[in-house]
């Protein structure tokens, strides 16, 4: 991969309320089609790093360039966000809108698609995540796993080049995790560039290319997934893996 990375994270620092140094000089390149898994203890800054990529968290120092757009350039921030889909731990579906309207809203007002195109696209995506029969349901009527699949469809509807997943299965009952992971694995196989904060080893084994361990706001180890899981170099990684595996 000698081409330009699609995401360049350059020496990023982030402070919360002056006293907490959440990111301490993170540098990371993500290439097109790569699936990156970010693991680490809670408070290590992995979610903060992910949320910095589409500027939900404003970084204090350094730069992040996504497909040519810098997060520092606030004028283009909505263009950047159109290229970056995000899936949240708490789903964050819009509860006052039906499943279809959840998926169609941003297509219509941000991508300026016609009602007909947006609807067609939404139905294709609902089919893809396996719940076309829930098109007219409201979020509150769906299980957690179904809600998260709608959230993935909603993000995909914008035709993003990159998908970010912030602990997508952490709020789910155990039996619903699989249905969400399957959608994510499918997406990875189709060549989507993905950055995933999660401890789901099933997903790591099936779909991840690279695995990154973060601790105390820094990247401790960055290695192809087989290497990191079977033969970690850093003591910190060994310690962490011994606890979660």
């Amino acid at each position: 991969m000698d081409e330009q990375p699609i995401i360049q994270i350059k020496d990023v620092h982030k402070y919360f309320s002056d006293s907490i140094h959440a990111l301490r000089g993170v540098t990371l390149d993500i290439y097109k089609g790569e699936v990156i898994m970010i693991i680490g203890p809670s408070g290590s800054g992995k979610s903060t790093l992910l949320r910095s990529i589409n500027n939900l968290e404003e970084i204090d120092y350094g730069d992040i360039i996504v497909d040519g757009f810098s997060v520092k350039n606030h004028k283009d921030i909505n263009k950047l966000r159109m290229e970056v889909g995000m899936v949240f731990q708490q789903f964050n579906l819009f509860p006052h809108l039906s499943v279809l309207n959840n998926i169609m809203l941003a297509q219509k007002i941000v991508r300026k698609r016609s009602e007909k195109d947006a609807l067609k696209n939404a139905m294709i995506l609902l089919d893809k995540v396996g719940i076309p029969d829930k098109a007219n349901a409201f979020p509150a009527q769906l299980s957690g796993g179904q809600q998260q699949r709608v959230a993935i469809a909603r993000a995909l509807a914008m035709n993003p080049k990159i998908m970010l997943f912030d602990e997508p299965t952490s709020a789910l009952d155990p039996e619903m995790i699989q249905e969400v992971l399957e959608v994510m694995i499918q997406l990875a196989r189709e060549g989507m560039t993905m950055a995933v904060v999660s401890h789901e080893m099933g997903f790591a084994r099936a779909a991840a290319d690279r695995c990154i361990l973060m601790d105390a706001g820094k990247i401790v180890e960055d290695a192809p997934k087989d290497e990191l899981f079977t033969n970690p170099k850093e003591e910190r990684t060994k310690l962490f893996l011994s606890k979660i595996l």
């Binding site: 589409n54 939900l56 909505n78 263009k79 966000r81 159109m82 970056v84 889909g85 995000m86 949240f88 708490q90 964050n92 579906l93 819009f94 509860p95 006052h96 809203l105 941003a106 007002i109 941000v110 991508r111 409201f138 959230a151 909603r154 993000a155 914008m158």
Partner: protein
């Protein structure tokens, strides 16, 4: 001796004779109070047309003025309060500062004093400015009492409404705004399509209460030359010296209007809940 299937019989009896939960909630018992107050007014009108019929005839135009002031003020309050609420959560420090200052000042002055300022002081300031800068249109500026009353009430109540709108928006999980922004929506689009439609449902009861408060506080405009229900009542009393009858009638008319408004608010509230 008890029948064998005692429980079954009891259940049958219960199902037959007690209204089901769904049925019960359909009947709004508070309409009964509206009917009682209405019946009381009719009773007074029929049993003692003099003076009650006379009072009603005399104050009728006042009722319309009261309703007009209330309705227009409510709409203006809602519009101003919406912008005020957005200003109170604005990231722009200038907008936030101006709106916060407005809210603090207005909430610190009694509505009655504000009405006096709008009706007496404001036109005087305009007229003096007209003389000083020689603007003929300003020199002879005469305040329209109804207009000044509506402005006074709206400006005052919009400050409270701003806080209601702000609280409604802030009660939503931060994830809603984040999800909308992460899809590429501008802050304004997120407000319009995601945040406000949800906040509206939460603050609907509080908005309704504000409207009813406006209806009641509209009686204050009687001191700034608006011939509303209260003022017409006072005029009737001063010519007839019938304080008991006059204020009984006026009080019942206000009560009827507020009770009906409360029911209407309640219906709208239920409807918005069902839409969900």
């Amino acid at each position: 001796m008890l029948p064998k299937n005692n429980k079954e019989i009891t259940n049958k009896w219960l199902n037959k004779n007690l209204p089901q939960v769904g049925e019960l909630s359909k009947i709004d018992p508070w309409w009964g109070l509206v009917l009682i107050v209405l019946a009381l007014i009719v009773l007074l009108l029929v049993s003692q047309p003099d003076p009650y019929q006379r009072i009603l005839n005399f104050t009728e135009d006042g009722i319309w003025i009261t309703l007009l002031v209330t309705l227009v003020s409510s709409v203006l309050t809602l519009v101003l309060g919406l912008f005020g609420g957005l200003g109170r959560i604005s990231k722009n420090k200038v907008i936030y500062g101006i709106v916060s200052l407005y809210v603090e000042i207005v909430r610190g002055i009694p509505l009655l004093v504000q009405l006096l300022v709008w009706y007496f002081a404001f036109p005087a300031i305009i007229a003096q400015a007209g003389i000083k800068f020689n603007i003929p249109a300003f020199k002879n500026y005469l305040a329209n009492p109804v207009m000044m009353a509506i402005i006074g009430i709206s400006v005052c109540y919009a400050a409270y409404m701003s806080e209601i709108v702000r609280a409604g928006i802030e009660s939503l999980p931060a994830g809603q705004m984040e999800a909308a922004r992460s899809l590429g929506m501008t802050r304004l689009q997120a407000m319009q399509y995601v945040i406000l439609p949800q906040a509206y449902r939460t603050i609907m009861p509080a908005i309704g209460n504000e409207f009813i408060s406006i209806l009641k506080d509209s009686s204050l405009v009687s001191v700034v030359a608006v011939s509303d229900l209260t003022r017409r009542g006072r005029e009737f009393m001063s010519t007839t010296f019938l304080p008991i009858e006059t204020w009984t009638m006026v009080a019942l008319l206000y009560l009827l209007m507020t009770l009906i408004s409360a029911r209407i608010v309640n219906i709208v509230e239920k409807k918005t809940k069902m839409d969900k």
